[in-house]
């Protein structure tokens, strides 16, 4: 399968599913913004990189949309999409994990909650991962952990910087302790990347919580967030239940984290590629010292 086919397949199968699930589009023409409730012409929203023109709400993106927005056209080469989740605990809640995986696979045409590969940003080689919140809430199980570890190991081999776009509710409970161990695995792999002096840029998008934020998402040399994203360890509801008091306004949103020193910058979606390019250029420069003139 060529890269071109891969994109074509994504376009055909993925977007309508996204539209049905995530966007309330009467007749596919108008979208209601989740934040300001304004009706937006679907094509305008699309043209605006899925950012509400009225209130700047950043709609969630699929991994395919993200990759299309960030990477140079046709530069993406997917890796490890053959790695699939398995119900090794025979986990059953309201339905079995096996059924959950199967029905998610059917409706989303994704292989799991992260898509990884290599590609170029304004010509700079990168190893890139983009998460899909629509795949079981972007939860991190064995597959997500393994794909991230392999992505980092490939980056070390090829001497590529790593960029990961997170969007995840945290660990995948249906994999029990094994989901927790993915935090250790991915963080250890990032340690190796750092030992090899290769940069890691973490982009935190709405939402990045729990085990994902407490591992690879917070470990960037550079941590960038999209505006208004929920970024936290414990979710607001858990905290409210624990402390039994109201949370401060803007709590656990990107801007709040920036203010508290947890992020390097908050970056608008339409400036993301430009920002990443500047950083990649900076990291890739070989010159040492300052020229005289």
């Amino acid at each position: 399968m060529s890269i071109h086919d891969w994109f074509k397949r994504k376009k055909e199968t993925q977007y309508p599913a996204y539209a049905r699930e995530r966007l309330d589009i009467p007749g596919n023409l108008w979208v209601k913004c989740y934040k300001c409730n304004e009706a937006i012409f679907a094509r305008d929203l699309e043209a605006n990189l899925k950012v509400c023109p009225k209130c700047n709400y950043h709609f969630k993106l699929s991994s395919a949309e993200r990759i299309e927005q960030i990477l140079d056209a046709k530069s993406f080469k997917v890796i490890n999409s053959h790695i699939k989740s398995t119900d090794f605990l025979n986990f059953v809640d309201s339905k079995s994990y096996t059924q959950r995986i199967e029905s998610t696979l059917l409706k989303s045409a994704l292989s799991d909650a992260i898509n990884t590969g290599t590609g170029k940003i304004e010509g700079y080689d990168v190893a890139i991962g983009a998460m899909d919140f629509s795949f079981m809430g972007g939860s991190m199980g064995s597959v997500v952990g393994e794909k991230i570890a392999r992505l980092i190991e490939l980056a070390i081999e090829k001497k590529f910087p790593v960029i990961i776009f997170s969007s995840s509710g945290g660990a995948r409970m249906q994999e029990g302790i094994m989901s927790l161990m993915q935090m250790a695995k991915t963080s250890a792999a990032l340690g190796r990347l750092r030992e090899n002096r290769l940069p890691y840029i973490s982009v935190l998008t709405d939402p990045t919580t729990g085990g994902t934020s407490a591992s690879y998402a917070m470990l960037g040399d550079i941590n960038i967030a999209e505006p208004g994203a929920l970024i936290c360890f414990a979710g607001p509801r858990v905290i409210e239940q624990t402390i039994r008091q109201k949370l401060p306004p803007g709590f656990q949103r990107s801007e709040y984290l920036l203010e508290h020193g947890m992020l390097d910058l908050v970056c608008q979606r339409d400036k993301m590629k430009e920002t990443l390019t500047k950083l990649l250029k900076w990291f890739s420069r070989q010159e040492v010292g300052i020229p005289k003139q």
């Binding site: 986990f91 309201s94 302790i177 161990m181 695995k185 963080s187 190796r192 947890m262």
Partner: protein, 326 residues
């Protein structure tokens, strides 16, 4: 004797009820012995033996949620109890050098059979007041940063590290979030993976999620027989996935959180047995089992070079995960 029996009764679990009758008989024997000339010591000894054996049978068949109760028992020995029994010349170190000292996390220097060692661990309270001070063993970011600071001391002076894990989880609070709970844990994970000294982690009570893992990336990970280690509490999992917090037992079963389950999944390396009826029945005995396990597991690690120790730890966690490749 009577007093001790009453104490035992008071700390009995619901599932230990079959012991009540036996304890009553033991009390009767004691009363007879006290009020007459008859020598009842043989009968008393046999009854105590019988109680031990029945207790052992009960504990061999505990359900996961019953094990959760044992792991959370108020009288279960805490990290400082074990430190007291196992090590000599303990000096507790405080503070993360940035914000504060976190009483939910203890750290310090000590000796193990004459060998200098570094200890870190979550600390629960022994009673409600103590538990409020210790925040029920739920550390803030400062706790994780203190632990890392002390791990760095271990590394500089080539001292092995032993961590004691006993926490419901990292604290979910406003301050904890503002000061970067996620970052503190994530950083510990990355840094622990690169420690150049032998590192043994022991889950002694509750191994609560990222808060537990935040000090738990040992070259060897051991678990006490009646401790638990889980990605989320059974109650939390039940309320999210089963939409009913009362189904904690189902969640506990489904998630596989007991020591034998985790040994099968190869997430832990060894189970440390507990005294009959759980560690709270004899902290000293439990500590002696732990001490034996620490020494046994540290010994082979002491022979490894820096590189080998890092590689050993990397490979251990790198291979965790179950998936299929199509």
């Amino acid at each position: 004797m009577n007093k001790q029996n009453n104490n035992n009764k008071r700390t009995l679990f619901e599932f230990e009820k079959p012991l009540l009758e036996l304890y009553d008989k033991l009390d009767e024997l004691g009363a007879v012995a006290a009020s007459s000339e008859m020598n009842m010591s043989e009968e008393i000894r046999l009854m105590e033996k019988r109680i031990e054996s029945v207790r052992r049978d009960i504990f061999a068949k505990l359900s996961p949620i019953q094990i959760v109760q044992v792991a959370r028992h108020m009288q279960r020995p805490t990290t400082l109890d074990y430190v007291n029994y196992i090590f000599d010349d303990f000096v507790e170190l405080h503070g993360d050098r940035n914000f504060s000292d976190d009483p939910a996390m203890v750290a310090g220097l000590a000796e193990l059979n004459g060998r200098p060692i570094v200890i870190i661990g979550q600390q629960k309270g022994k009673n409600t007041k103590d538990n409020i001070t210790r925040n029920f063993g739920m550390a803030n970011p400062e706790g994780y940063r203190k632990a890392l600071r002390v791990m760095r001391i271990a590394e500089r002076y080539e001292r092995p590290i032993v961590s004691f894990i006993d926490t419901p989880g990292a604290y979910p609070g406003i301050g904890a979030e503002e000061r970067g709970q996620a970052e503190a844990i994530a950083k510990n994970l990355r840094e622990m993976s690169e420690l150049t000294v032998p590192f043994v982690s022991i889950v002694t009570g509750e191994g609560g999620s990222g808060g537990a893992l935040g000090i738990g990336m040992g070259n060897r990970v051991l678990m006490l027989e009646f401790s638990i280690y889980s990605v989320i509490s059974p109650e939390g999992c039940a309320s999210i996935l089963f939409r009913d917090a009362k189904r904690a037992n189902d969640a506990a079963i489904a998630m596989k959180i007991t020591a034998p389950d985790l040994l099968k999944l190869e997430v832990i390396d060894e189970i440390i047995r507990e005294p009959a009826g759980g560690a709270h029945n004899s902290a000293e005995k439990a500590a002696s089992f732990i001490k034996f396990a620490i020494i046994k597991n540290l010994e082979p690690l002491l022979l490894l070079s820096h590189r080998e120790l890092i590689a050993d730890r990397y490979n251990k966690f790198r291979k965790m995960g179950i998936f299929k490749e199509e």
